[in-house]
């Protein structure tokens, strides 16, 4: 569906979200269009839809030019999806004979433009850019609506309580669907019902329970919901069967085993289809006939690559579908259910591929539908019933920078700035010879570490068998790094990574009922580590010290975290001399956050700074006399760097030459600061259209 078609849809479709059900009187033409759309979008029956549009043309051809032109355009578009040249004739007819119907003519011209273009696996266009939210989909089956997370936090960023919202890609209107003000509750990624009039979504109460809720989309805000299924394990909604009977869910049990299951939409009972080891599926799609579920699984414990399988919904059989050394990411089924779509880098670059699939088995070999597709894609939001493939792309990017800075004047030297793309969470080794940071790589869900040599300028990768390592902290001898991460068995905790071999050793594993640990740091004497226990959004955390020789753990201080500080920021930092601990805390209200400092050995904390906005704690200066931190600037998206003397004196702003600078880490020479900057201003929402004719052509 292209933008103009969407405009026509706006004129003819019942507007589910902005008009309460029943409030708009349907005309007979509306009913006929709806029937045609039913064929086209829900049943994937393009031929049937063409007949329906033909019936509208026959009925209104002499009495209503607007309706007729619209029906012709829709008919042409259906032909276009089938790769049928009849589309061009009809578009030309609309342009030629319906000049008074401007919208329809515009659509027809656009359609002719698409027709004229040489076919190279469809055309891609951006349909939406979302600032300050997470458009994590999915898209409704008719391609009109997309669900996203709305945040209540300040500054339009991803902070504060989360709510579900829906964006109308035609009208551009947003509607917040839930009314949540709690920092410990949040929605999960939803699924649309087959008619796109309902969504099923997880409602997560951190550490307590998770519910699968069903909500009618009737234009109300907040909308009413009902609980279909409840569990104290983790689960995610994956897809709603086209026959409406099941919602596929991924469940993560407390022993870390992942399961693929079905929740009945009639009574909420759960059927576990398959237990799938420590690592689970990320993409699960029902076949259009509701008989099969396609899902992906990691091909091994030691890598981020995936293969694709298909299991019968009744549990009777399973078949490996795409097994290949490459990374194969499932993207869904074609509307008629005869092909699986997936992204694979088997030819060196990510591309869109299809695999014929009929009678419960793969038929033949995969074929490439579109080259160079998927390299920078964040997520796939499923193909619509009409065959458009929506996906999200992270706008901008993250990078680690090293800036030379004069702490007295606060000025940096742009000429000496070094930058490493896709990097976050920088950490200097104690001797200042190395900078470690976490690296994201396009098309690879796993993160890894990069070690930069400040002496030689060389960089090398360190790929531990861990998922999502963050906040590396060098051991004082520079031989290993501590990270919070998940291991191959799905457990979260703190791990030590050998800086040369990437071998991993668990240091502390969190219990099944316990939130993960935050930001572990070595004590400068190498005898122990400091980390946070019980860290979760809006909750109380405990900063603890662990002696490595005895394993003895002792509490240093209890902190209360603000909702908008959550789990994604550094909560404390130990001074280089090992004498002091700086940390963030609050009194539990959003208007009061403080940077505190206290003796590491225990004693009375002192408040250094009180703020009413988002604060990122950085590191200390080498002399342990000042702290670096970042706070929101005056412009939206700005996060400025500051220096805060711990023994008196006002904070001083640092100009590091970047609008967004966090995780400030001072080099032991006191002249260079490494930081993570984020110009990822928005997430973009794209669609690949008209790629199925390439499939038809190959046949």
């Amino acid at each position: 569906m292209n933008r103009c078609t969407a405009g026509i849809l706006a004129a003819i479709a019942a507007i589910l979200l902005t008009v309460p059900a029943g409030a708009q009187k349907k005309t007979e033409a509306d009913t006929m269009f709806e029937a045609a759309r039913q064929k086209e979008t829900l049943e994937g029956d393009l031929s049937g839809a063409i007949k329906q549009y033909g019936a509208i043309v026959a009925k209104y051809g002499k009495t209503d030019r607007g309706v007729t032109a619209t029906a012709l355009v829709r008919m042409a578009e259906a032909y276009q999806k089938m790769g049928n040249a009849e589309a061009q004739k009809i578009y030309e007819q609309v342009v030629r004979e319906y000049a008074d119907q401007k919208d329809a003519v515009a659509l027809a011209r656009a359609g002719l433009g698409v027709q004229a273009a040489p076919h190279s696996g469809g055309n891609i266009r951006q349909v939406w850019t979302k600032f300050g939210g997470s458009p994590y989909g999915p898209v409704s089956h008719d391609g009109r609506y997309v669900v996203f997370t709305s945040y209540l936090g300040p500054g339009g960023g991803r902070t504060g309580p989360q709510n579900l919202a829906v964006h109308d890609l035609i009208t551009g209107a947003d509607l917040v669907l839930t009314k949540n003000e709690s920092p410990v509750e949040r929605p999960g990624k939803p699924v649309f019902s087959p008619d796109s009039r309902q969504i099923g979504y997880p409602w997560i109460v951190e550490g307590v329970s998770e519910e699968l809720r069903i909500m009618e989309l009737n234009g109300n805000s907040p909308a009413k919901s009902r609980v279909l299924f409840k569990t104290d394990d983790l689960f995610r909604a994956r897809d709603w069967s086209p026959d409406g009977k099941w919602i596929a869910v991924g469940i993560r049990r407390k022993d870390h085993i992942n399961q693929l299951g079905l929740v009945s939409t009639s009574d909420g009972t759960l059927r576990v289809l398959k237990s799938i080891d420590w690592a689970g599926s990320t993409q699960v799609y029902f076949s259009p006939d509701s008989r099969y579920l396609a899902f992906d699984l990691p091909s091994s414990e030691n890598g981020g690559k995936r293969d694709i399988f298909v299991i019968a919904v009744d549990g009777s059989r399973e078949v490996p579908a795409v097994i290949h050394p490459a990374n194969d990411r499932l993207a869904g089924w074609t509307p008629e259910g005869k092909h699986l779509l997936f992204i694979s880098d088997r030819n060196g670059r990510p591309a869109l591929w299809s695999l014929p699939f009929e009678n419960g088995k793969p038929q033949g070999n995969p074929e490439m539908l579109r080259p160079d597709f998927g390299a920078n894609h964040d997520d796939y939001l499923g193909p619509t019933r009409t065959g458009e493939l929506y996906f999200s792309v992270l706008g901008g990017g993250v990078k680690v920078s090293i800036a030379s800075v004069d702490l007295e004047s606060g000025k940096s030297n742009p000429a000496t700035m070094q930058q490493f793309t896709n990097g976050i969470y920088p950490a200097w080794s104690a001797d200042g010879k190395y900078l470690a940071y976490i690296t994201y790589q396009d098309g690879d869900a796993r993160t890894f570490l990069t070690i930069y040599s400040a002496e030689t300028g060389q960089r090398r990768e360190l790929r531990p068998n861990l998922t999502y390592p963050t906040w590396p902290s060098w051991s004082p001898d520079g031989r290993s790094l501590l990270v919070p991460a998940g291991d191959a068995k799905g457990r979260w905790g703190i791990f030590s990574i050998d800086a040369q071999t990437a071998e991993v050793e668990p240091v502390a594993i969190s219990g099944p009922e316990e939130p993960g640990f935050g930001t572990p740091q070595w004590l400068p004497d190498g005898k122990g580590i400091v980390y946070e226990r019980g860290r979760k959004q809006g909750g109380d955390g405990v900063i603890v010290k662990r002696e490595l020789s005895s394993g003895k753990e002792s509490e240093i201080v209890r902190v209360k975290l603000l909702p908008n500080h959550g789990v994604a920021t550094r909560g404390f930092v130990v001074s280089p001399d090992g004498q002091s601990l700086a940390y963030l805390t609050s009194n539990g209200t959003p208007a009061h956050t403080a940077i505190m400092v206290m003796p590491l050995a225990g004693g009375q904390p002192r408040e250094l700074l009180k703020v009413t906005e988002f604060v990122y704690l950085g590191g200390w200066t080498p002399d342990s006399q000042s702290l670096l931190y970042s706070r929101n600037g005056t412009l939206p998206g700005d996060v400025a760097a500051w220096l805060l003397p711990v023994n008196g004196g006002p904070p001083r702003k640092l100009d590091l030459g970047e609008r967004f600078a966090t995780e400030l880490q001072m080099h032991p020479d006191g002249k260079r600061v490494a930081f993570w900057s984020n110009n990822q201003t928005a997430e973009q929402f794209w669609v690949l259209e008209n790629f199925l004719p390439a499939l038809t052509a190959k046949k």
Binding site: G315, S316, R317, K489, E513
Partner: protein, 317 residues
């Protein structure tokens, strides 16, 4: 490899609805019954003294209560007879995981001189069936031996009264401090992998190399209270002994699995783990008739056949 439907059995509560069955050996009621007869048929041993059931006694959750298996002419085997519980979900077979399929595995004890001591031609002649048919039938019967619907399963299903407070405490330690779920995971309480727990390390050497480095396959914990003695060599008589063994960090040896380390459990914690393990006794179903479910299990079924009835393969088209 395509796996087909296990149409002939009902899946108890707690187990996966999808039971892998090889394409070449679809599960049928007839074959399961044929396999059941063979399983109890003493003609399959040299001296006619033992059948499969001699070491895999249905009364003991298909184990035998002895440290190591005893075969024809009272010959002693090397290893403990494993409980044949939920082996249809298995990924490798024997304590050392040397067989990839049940179809391969079931013929081996017949040929082992310390077990049944027949050649396949002899076995074929005695029961009047080709070896392939014996294999498929026995594998089908073993595949039908399923245990689920235990108090643990009912607890997971949402019945919070299904486990006592002490059992729930034991479950928490099982998943947490005890680190048991490092290997005993999923519906079948096994990762189906090989681990060196140190149990084969004796007097500074490996008494049994297992799969090569003193590593043995993680057994299921279903029906565990009925399958003593424990470990691949039956060297630990009770569940309490097993917990003590792991609490002290196993026998240190060069290949010891990284997950085996001193646990420092309290006496109460050890007791609660054992109490929890006992709640993994459920219903043992064998064959196609749920009336054959082993009612000797300590816990009556909450609902027989908790999973919906299966469709025949032809219904899938």
């Amino acid at each position: 490899m395509l796996f087909l439907l296990a149409a002939a059995v009902t899946i108890p509560l707690g187990l996966d609805l999808y039971l892998p069955v090889p394409e070449g050996n679809p599960l049928t009621a007839e074959k399961i019954e044929q396999g059941r007869r063979l399983f109890f048929d003493r003609r399959l041993s040299r001296d006619g003294s033992i059948a499969c059931s001699s070491c895999h006694d249905p009364e003991r959750a298909f184990s035998d209560g002895r440290p190591v298996a005893v075969g024809v002419f009272d010959r002693k085997g090397r290893r403990n007879s494993p409980a044949l519980i939920n082996r249809g979900y298995g990924r490798s077979f024997f304590w050392d995981g040397r067989m990839a399929t049940l179809e391969e595995q079931v013929l081996k004890p017949i040929q082992d001189v310390n077990e049944m001591d027949l050649t396949l031609p002899e076995a074929t002649a005695r029961v009047g069936l080709p070896a392939e048919e014996i294999s498929r039938a026995l594998a089908s019967f073993v595949r039908s031996i399923l245990s689920g619907d235990s108090p643990f399963d009912r607890f997971i299903e949402g019945d919070r009264a299904a486990l006592s407070a002490e059992q729930q405490a034991g479950l928490a330690i099982f998943r947490g401090k005890g680190n048991c779920t490092a290997c005993h995971v999923g519906p079948n309480f096994t990762d189906e992998r090989l681990h060196n727990t140190g149990i084969a390390w004796r007097d500074g050497k490996l008494a049994d190399p297992g799969a090569g480095r003193g590593d043995f396959k993680t057994p299921t914990l279903r029906e565990i209270a009925r399958t003593a003695p424990y470990m691949h060599d039956g060297s630990l008589a009770t569940l309490e002994d097993v917990i003590e063994y792991y609490d002290r960090g196993g026998n240190r040896n060069p290949g010891l699995d990284a997950e085996i380390r001193p646990l420092h459990l309290t006496a109460a914690e050890k007791r609660s783990i054992v109490v929890f393990l006992r709640c993994l006794n459920g219903l043992v179903q064998r064959g196609t008739d749920t009336a054959q479910w082993d009612r000797r299990s300590v816990n009556p079924p909450a609902s027989a056949g908790a999973s919906p009835a299966r469709l025949a393969p032809s219904d899938l088209g």
